[in-house]
């Protein structure tokens, strides 16, 4: 049946957003306050890849960019069934905005050679942009579908997906293509014991900017290659809220008055 079906899944390690602390005074995000975890949306992308692999055979390569500790997310992906994992880690790649990130990822994918499908989460819980996926697709000159909530049909040549843009649309994309997926697409499986053992032994391939120079120049990558700059960060307080807490028998009556006064007045 010809060449193997090659799937690439892009993942990012992010701070656990339930635990991370924000310093209201300095506007700093204290990343050390929370353990890193795989961006929750990306697990759905990986699951989609695993399901396609179960049907078609083939391979799944995970690519991530980030600091060395992101290795734990790549190990986790291997434990869930991915075949190969590459971590781009290099101070020269740090501080990248979405376009510089997309260039690094696209250069990595070009270097890997032929592929059929790229999967990624619709966005990350830290950057919140949802831009890297479509930017990678543009740089690789392949079609993409965003907010994919259902994969209807996969063949060697094309894929049919439902894109949830408020209204839902059915699209057919010619392969190779890139999908950004929503959490509704599937329920990610957990690592198996066998997978964990395999992942423990497996090597994460560490790539630096030097590995990408065939396809991207240094000035296109990292902070240097970024076209946007964060000039200030503030942690919005909640002090503008009245914060009135009511209990007991009168509470409902008071709330009812507030609703009538504040909301239903014309």
């Amino acid at each position: 049946m010809g060449q193997e079906f090659r799937i690439i899944v892009l993942i990012k390690q992010v701070p656990d957003i339930e635990k991370v602390r924000f310093d209201v005074d300095t506007g700093r995000v204290d990343r050390s306050s929370a353990p890193g975890e795989t961006n929750p949306f990306d697990l759905h992308a990986l699951e989609a890849g695993l399901q396609i692999k179960e049907r078609f055979g083939g391979s799944i390569t995970i690519i991530s960019m980030g600091p060395r500790q992101a290795e734990s997310s790549l190990k986790d992906a291997l434990a869930r069934g991915a075949d190969r994992a590459i971590l781009l880690t290099d101070p020269r790649l740090a501080g990248a905005d979405t376009i510089a990130t997309a260039k690094a990822l696209a250069a990595t994918i070009k270097k890997l050679g032929r592929f059929d499908l790229i999967l990624c989460g619709e966005k990350t819980v830290d950057g919140d942009t949802g831009q890297v996926g479509p930017e990678v697709a543009e740089l690789l000159e392949i079609p993409h579908a965003a907010y994919v909530c259902e994969i209807r049909e996969v063949t060697r040549e094309s894929i049919k997906v439902v894109s949830d843009m408020g209204d839902k649309y059915l699209y057919e994309l010619k392969l190779p293509a890139l999908l950004t997926v929503t959490r509704e697409l599937n329920s990610p499986r957990l690592p198996t014991l066998k997978g964990l053992l395999r992942a423990k032994r497996a090597e994460i391939e560490i790539w630096t900017a030097d590995n990408l120079l065939e396809y991207a120049s240094i000035d296109q990558l990292g902070f240097q290659g970024s076209k946007t700059r964060v000039t200030k960060v503030i942690i919005p307080g909640v002090e503008h809220r009245k914060g009135i807490i009511l209990r007991g028998d009168d509470a409902v009556k008071k709330i009812s008055e507030v609703i009538l006064r504040e909301v239903l007045r014309r």
């Binding site: 919140d128 930017e135 843009m165 950004t180 409902v252």
Partner: protein
């Protein structure tokens, strides 16, 4: 004179209202920066809509009315808009941060090799005339101020954060019909719309939202009754959608809908960061929860520490009574 280019999003034949909000903001910025406002509208049978863009602030409208643009094909739309941007070289290029806008804009930015800021809630001009883009990040926990070092400066802007300008049918502008080039007939095929969004939380003035405090699917009726009384709609936190109790159209939060109603009543919602990211900008927040330590109370104007099964029927009763009193007195007046 160079331009601020506003992409006028159409779905079917109507212009998405975020477009008018963008035109309002673009007009404001254009005046400060000495620029003109241009708009581009793509679709099929959409030419009649072009004057509306002028009435809302565009000086010039590029119209691409073509049957081959009937469907939302991201490659075709990208090619047309990239060509236009290369030709007119706008200083600033704005799109709505709708799902479609957020899928299309990054492709355009990558093709133009320029910076793009996602989901902005404000655009400001610094003292020395630079554009500052303000956007939430970290699931809405921080606000980042961002500047772009390349041209055009591109941004997607969240729906319902900018003010819609008044419609002025006496406003004049130029309408330029264009033939689209770069239509994709190979990569992407839209096989049709398979479902319509049934409820638009983004447009709701009042949202009554339920969370894990609800015990059974049937209990959503209680919220429906309260919402009905206030001419509002039902929202839910993510677990209820995952349980299959209600469609995702109703989900409020980072991975659902970001809403900004006049009144948000959170019933049995503890207030996870992912939920707060979707509703923290509501004008007034009322929370009803039996756990006094629930994080939602810190974001609420009024918090009621009570069992929702006790409090909501009482609230419905109390509101019904007060409204019928009001009705009687207004009839007298």
């Amino acid at each position: 004179m160079s331009d601020i280019l506003v992409y006028a999003e159409t779905a079917g034949s109507a212009i998405h209202p975020v477009t008018f909000e963008l035109l309002g903001k673009a007009g404001e910025l254009a005046e400060r920066l000495g620029l003109k406002v241009s708009s581009a509208v793509l679709g099929y049978n959409i030419s009649d809509e072009a004057p509306e863009l002028i009435y809302h602030g565009a000086d010039k409208v590029y119209v691409y009315d073509d049957e081959r643009l009937r469907d939302l094909n991201v490659i075709s739309y990208k090619n047309v808009l990239v060509r236009l941007a290369r030709e007119i070289k706008p200083e600033i290029f704005l799109l709505g941060a709708t799902p479609w806008g957020r899928s299309l804009a990054p492709r355009i930015a990558a093709a133009l090799d320029t910076g793009l800021t996602a989901d902005c809630i404000d655009l400001q001009i610094s003292e020395d005339g630079r554009l500052i883009q303000v956007r939430p990040a970290f699931t809405g926990n921080i606000l980042a101020y961002i500047e772009t070092t390349s041209k055009p400066i591109m941004a997607t802007i969240r729906y319902r954060v900018m003010k819609k300008p008044p419609r002025d049918p006496d406003r004049r502008g130029e309408i330029i019909a264009r033939k689209p080039e770069g239509i994709d007939e190979e990569w992407v095929r839209c096989l049709g719309k398979i479902s319509e969004k049934r409820v638009s939380l983004a447009d709701a003035e009042v949202i009554v939202a339920g969370g894990r405090g609800l015990k059974r699917k049937e209990d959503l009726r209680l919220l429906e009754e309260l919402a009905g009384l206030l001419c509002g709609v039902i929202g839910v936190s993510r677990p209820l959608v995952e349980e299959g109790w209600i469609s995702k159209d109703h989900q409020v939060g980072f991975s659902g809908n970001v809403v900004k109603p006049k009144l948000y009543i959170a019933c049995g919602i503890s207030g996870s960061p992912q939920h707060l990211a979707g509703m923290r900008d509501s004008n007034m927040i009322i929370a009803i929860n039996n756990d006094p330590s629930a994080p939602i109370f810190r974001y609420a104007d009024y918090g009621v520490v009570a069992d929702l099964y006790d409090a909501i029927p009482k609230l419905i009763h109390s509101l019904t009574e007060a409204m019928s009193r009001e009705g009687r007195s207004s009839r007298r007046a």
